[in-house]
């Protein structure tokens, strides 16, 4: 199929949409997470069940990307195409498939877990009162087969590109993005339209449009979900950007650890080329655009745009000083726009529906939505897309269903290792780029890690710092050596070797690193330390002044003792990995503190509450 013009696209789209669909559609979540959780055998079971019942004409099975329901993968969605009624099943086992098919699309099968739909699609649905999520970025993810371009075209795919190329001048496209107020979803929150504007005004025969798909925050997988679930939306947006700034080459820099995303991107690029939606003279407009893929080796710092550009050029992936900014002098010293996956995934909707529509969602300063990877101690981990301005409480306690095992909420870390922790007193703040910054954290790329009463905040700070320590390129002094010293001081605190002077040094050095580091990675690396020091000063003081870890996490500061409730059942002694518990049967046991490794196995094993953790 070759689509030579806008009209050809419209008639082809109409043809696909008009094709008779089956009575029922089953969407099967085939993202990396779903596959890892065992969707493949479930899919197989569904297909054979349908074949067995001879329902091939009545039921369409579509392999889709991530639906965002990590907490209950494998997940499937059954849609009645006549009534529009839908059932979402979670934790689907092969053994349940027959019952699910038998139950049909109107009532859930017995003995299964169903999941409430918490989202709506602002582009083509009105908001139900209960929907906390609004999917713009993820509008197709979890709905269409990412390996079939026709399904994308049926969902208004490539309409935005057609509109831009045949009905708008490049500066009109730029202005539309400027007007929409779209901001970079990769971390900094820089206005996307402005970036495009800078590059667009550069006089140069060669410019580049780069997609930053080097997602590397621990626990973050927003971009992966988009690339696995809706790769064409990124390709289309890059082409629109290319048209807007005058670039004819797009480069997707993706970490090689995302093999499924890479595969689906490759397929998507191939199909788009075949359809003439990438390549020469797209929609007969005279505009040429091609996209190539470059693989990263998974260095976190390569998410920084100058480091990313160096990596593409075959150099060591480390940042250089800005200015010059990439929009002026980027890849191969040519004007270059670097946007991340999620940012691109907003572009087509903005072009299709207009800047005003986009601004009607979210807050005045941060229009649109944000995808968060909700993780940690929350009951329902998963991928959520929420309008800017939502309260953290709604995300954690409504979408995430509160804290696991009935424990108490302690803090939430946004912005990944570069962000900060936010406490319960700020849970009702409407969040956008500015408010998060005001809370000592940041939007970042959208990792959201929830912590409960069992988490030691000094240890949490150390955990995040260890990550940046490993991922620092080592170029500038504050990040290379300064972060190491911070880490060593946090070790001292966790080990009970620190003094109040350590705390002073920790604070001063953290501030200096923020003030002096070369790139965003270094400038934000002390955030977890500073924000925990502000919000959980008492925990730091307990470690230093009382030699105690209030959460009972820091091994050097806790010890286990057997109290008089001991009945001498010997269970603890039998479970102790270092055999440091002794005592006769039916006699009180003792722990040899010199040998104890504080693993906590005895504490968990005891059925009589006879072991105290101090």
């Amino acid at each position: 199929m070759f689509i030579a013009s806008k009209d050809a696209l419209n008639s082809y789209a109409a043809k696909i949409k008009g094709a008779a669909s089956a009575e029922t559609t089953i969407l099967v979540s085939m993202g990396t997470c779903g596959i890892a959780a065992g969707t493949t055998p479930v899919l197989k079971a569904i297909r054979s069940e349908i074949a067995e019942r001879n329902l091939q004409n009545a039921i369409d099975v579509i392999e889709v990307g991530c639906m965002g329901l990590c907490h209950c993968e494998p997940s499937i969605e059954i849609i009645n195409n006549n009534t529009g009624k839908r059932i979402i099943y979670g934790d689907v086992a092969e053994s349940q498939v027959a019952a699910i098919i038998a139950a049909g699309s109107d009532t859930p099968a017995q003995g299964t877990r169903t999941v409430e739909r918490t989202w709506y699609y602002p582009e083509f649905e009105t908001k139900p009162a209960s929907a906390l999520q609004a999917k713009i970025v993820l509008r197709n993810t979890g709905r269409i087969n990412p390996e079939k371009i026709d399904e994308y075209i049926a969902e208004d795919g490539y309409q935005a590109l057609a509109k831009a190329l045949t009905g708008m001048k490049p500066d009109e496209v730029v202005n539309e993005i400027v007007a929409s107020g779209l901001r970079g979803r990769g971390g900094g929150g820089f206005p996307t339209g402005k970036k495009w504007q800078f590059a667009a005004v550069q006089k140069n025969d060669e410019k580049f449009m780069i997609c930053n798909a080097d997602e590397g925050d621990p626990g973050a997988f927003m971009d992966r979900a988009v690339l696995e679930g809706d790769p064409h939306s990124v390709l289309e947006a890059m082409a629109i950007g290319g048209y807007a700034i005058g670039a004819h080459v797009g480069v997707i820099y993706i970490r090689a650890e995302y093999p499924l995303a890479v595969k689906r991107l490759q397929i998507a690029i191939e199909q788009a080329r075949e359809y003439g939606l990438l390549g020469k003279n797209i929609f007969n407009s005279g505009f040429d655009f091609n996209i190539e893929i470059k693989y990263g080796a998974g260095a976190f710092v390569c998410g920084e745009e100058t480091a990313l550009i160096h990596s593409i050029e075959g150099m060591r992936g480390e940042p250089t000083f800005k200015p010059p900014f990439p929009a002026i002098q980027g890849l191969w010293k040519k004007p270059t726009v670097v946007n991340n996956v999620e940012t691109y995934a907003n572009v087509c909707a903005i072009i299709r529906k207009g800047a005003d529509w986009f601004k009607s969602i979210g807050t005045a300063g941060s229009p649109g939505t944000k995808v968060f990877a909700l993780a940690g101690k929350v009951s329902k981990v998963g991928l959520v897309e929420v309008p800017m301005g939502i309260k953290l409480r709604d995300i954690i306690f409504s979408l995430g269903d509160g804290i696991k095992d009935g424990k108490a909420f302690k803090a939430v870390q946004t912005g990944g290792p570069s962000g900060g922790c936010i406490t319960s007193k700020s849970l009702d703040t409407p969040i956008d780029y500015e408010t998060l910054k005001g809370l000592g954290s940041m939007m970042g790329s959208g990792g959201m890690i929830v912590m409960d009463e069992d988490d030691c905040m000094v240890n949490v700070a150390r955990f995040f710092l260890e990550f940046t320590l490993d991922e620092s390129c080592g170029k500038c002094t504050p990040c290379r050596i300064g972060n190491r010293r911070l880490f060593e001081m946090l070790n001292e605190i966790c080990d009970g070797r620190a003094t109040m002077e350590t705390l002073d040094k920790l604070k001063n050095l953290s501030r200096t690193i923020k003030d002096t580091a070369l790139c965003g990675l270094g400038q934000t690396s002390p955030n977890p330390v500073l924000s925990t020091m502000v919000n959980f000063e008492d925990e730091y003081l307990a470690h230093i002044q009382e030699g105690k870890c209030p959460a009972g996490v820091c091994a050097n500061l806790i010890h286990y003792e057997i109290n008089d409730k001991c009945v001498g059942c010997t269970l603890c002694a039998r479970n102790c990995p270092v055999s440091c518990i002794s005592g006769d049967r039916k006699q009180k046991h003792y722990i040899d503190q010199t040998k104890c490794v504080k693993c906590g196995v005895c504490y968990q094993a005891c059925k009589f509450h006879a072991i105290d953790k101090n």
């Binding site: 620092s472 390129c473 170029k475 002094t477 290379r480 050596i481 972060n483 200096t512 070369l518």
Partner: protein, 578 residues
């Protein structure tokens, strides 16, 4: 023009200038460490990695590195706020916390920029103590020693190796706290395509990169009664040695140097300049031969071992191009051991030939297999200008008070043509002087070939040599050599003769010369000194050197003779480029 204020003082500077340069204009010194600018080679290393030069800029949330922040209209810069001072001191503190601080025994003691900074910034204790990174020392080569424990990641060496020289051996490896500059895969230097030019050593502000020292070997030889120890000194040494003793840059200290060497106990003090004249005899003969035949052109000079190794690695298909003449150092060794030893009636193995060179690659060159016979090297020990200065100091010789004295005969006599070997363009000019005479058959008076002088990287000239139009090029710095060779390879340029020196500016800026920490005016002065020395010589053409004429008459016969080929010529080996 851009108008700004630094420490409340207004200043106007050109667009694109950095805060550092604007401050310099006001006489404000902002401390730097990683930054280096080599004006005469148009090289600036501005990686902004050390963060020592951070200053406060009004309205900017974080501090700005002065060395790479361009000025903006209306900028309000403060260099000495408490915030800036604290940050600067913290950067230095952190660098020192990860540094061995063994200054007293460090090869760079008193030549170290980090040490100097600690002294200038009055840092008397390290606050942020912690683990230090450690690596294996690399002593694999004869020329360059690497002690990465001392590396401060300023990356200057990388710019020297990759940008200036395009050799591409050194780069950042590993990451985070372990990040350091090393060859890929931590390969020892002798297993890489390193050419041992030593530009990285000159660039290194600390003791991470130094020369492999042979001072003690020299002391041992001097104290060995069974050995006759002769020394040769390269042309560029005399124009820089004085700097090590506080004598103004650009002073020629040949006489004092010869006296000092004698006082140290060398049996004979000779001059590499003599061998330079000899090189001209052989190389010019080859040049005229190739030009007349029109074959294997252009002829490339082969004096520089760094350049020769670069060619062997990077352009193995062009190894027919360089002159087969050995370098002056190696010609000297061959003549000393095969001619002069005979004259003295001693066996070659009882003679020790020591070279004082501005160069570190010479250490490697002397150890090349083809320059040994029966396990006996033509040149036994090579020390740098810096090492000679160290030895003079160690010997308790008050250099500045020494009387001048002259080189010994016969290998000490030389001409003005030889002394300019120390500057880029000098070898070619010396060859042209001899070629002109030989072709014209007269004593040509026009002998100053100004077009091939100066520190620019690539110079081209069409010179009329006694009626023959010779197209010549002079190139210094291997990055420039690469550009030129690529053009030749692609047939975009044709020359008869090309002089190439590995180090930018030639031997006067060799890896073994006194450190100048970016002050390239010193290089200009060294160059001027060499040309002044040339002017001051009675004889300024190599073939008119009486000792050279005698050598051919007594021993070698004609230039290019069979014996000359055996002793004074060599061959080249293609090498891997990784």
């Amino acid at each position: 023009m851009v108008n700004l204020k630094i420490n409340d003082m207004p200043v106007s500077v050109d667009d694109g200038v950095t805060i550092l340069e604007a401050a310099q204009k006001l006489g404000i010194k902002i401390p730097t460490l990683c930054h280096i600018k080599l004006d005469c080679f148009h090289v600036e290393h501005r990686c902004g990695s050390c963060r020592i030069c951070v200053v406060e800029v009004a309205g900017r949330p974080n501090l700005a590195p002065a060395c790479c922040t361009p000025v903006l209209e209306g900028m309000d810069v403060k260099t000495n706020t408490l915030r800036a001072i604290n940050a600067r001191r913290t950067m230095l503190d952190l660098l020192l916390s990860d540094h061995p601080k063994d200054c007293l025994t460090c090869a760079k003691n008193l030549d170290c920029q980090l040490q100097k900074l600690a002294q200038e910034m009055n840092l008397h204790q390290v606050l942020y103590k912690g683990e230090q990174s450690t690596y294996n020392k690399d002593l694999s080569s004869q020329a360059i020693a690497r002690d990465l424990d001392k590396c401060i990641m300023c990356r200057r060496c990388e710019t020297a190796c990759n940008v200036v020289q395009t050799v591409g051996v050194l780069s950042g490896v590993d990451r985070g706290f372990e990040a350091v500059v090393a060859p890929a895969g931590y390969k020892p230097l002798n297993q890489t395509q390193c050419v041992f030019c030593g530009q990285c050593v000159l660039a290194c502000p600390v003791g991470a990169l130094t020369e492999v020292s042979y001072k003690y070997d020299v002391w041992k030889a001097l104290n060995d009664e069974t050995k006759t120890v002769v020394v040769q000194t390269a042309p560029a040494v005399r124009a820089a040695l004085g700097e090590e003793f506080g004598i103004a840059p650009g002073s020629i200290t040949t006489g004092k140097m010869v006296t000092a060497l004698r006082m140290m106990g060398f049996d004979k003090v000779f001059d590499t300049d003599f061998a330079a004249d000899l090189t001209i005899m052989e190389e010019t003969t080859e040049l005229i031969g190739r030009v007349k035949e029109g074959k294997n052109l252009p002829i490339l000079t082969s004096c520089c071992p760094g350049w020769v190794k670069f060619l062997e690695h990077q352009f193995p298909d062009l190894i027919y191009m360089p002159s087969t003449a050995k370098s002056p150092q190696q010609m000297f060794g061959a003549i000393a051991k095969n001619y002069y030893a005979q004259k003295l009636g001693i066996k070659p193995e009882d003679m020790v030939v020591v070279s004082v060179m501005p160069c570190l690659a010479k250490k490697y060159e002397a150890a090349r297999e083809e320059f040994s016979h029966n396990g006996n090297r033509d040149v036994d020990i090579v020390i740098s200008t810096r090492e000679l200065a160290d030895m003079i100091k160690e010997a308790g010789i008050i250099f500045n008070n020494l009387e001048d004295s002259k080189y010994d005969d016969p290998l000490g006599e030389s001409t003005g043509a030889a002394v300019i070997f120390g500057a880029t363009g000098g070898v070619l000019e010396a060859a042209l002087r001899t070629a002109a005479d030989w072709i014209a058959g007269t004593d040509v008076q026009e002998i100053d070939f100004e077009a091939v002088r100066g520190l620019e990287g690539i110079k081209e000239a069409t010179v009329n040599v006694a009626g023959l139009e010779l197209k010549a090029a002079v190139c210094s710095g291997l990055g420039n050599a690469r550009k030129l060779l690529e053009r030749i390879k692609n047939g975009e340029a044709q020359y008869h003769a090309i002089e190439i020196m590995a180090c930018p500016g030639g031997c006067l800026n060799g890896g073994g010369q006194p450190y100048y920490d970016g002050d390239t005016t010193i290089l200009e002065k060294r160059k001027e000194a060499l040309y002044r020395d040339d002017k001051d010589q009675k004889i300024r053409k190599s073939h008119l050197n009486p000792s050279i004429q005698k050598l051919y008459k007594e021993f070698l016969g004609e230039p290019g003779s069979h014996l000359a080929h055996e002793l004074l010529h060599t061959k080249y080996t293609p090498r891997k480029n990784w």
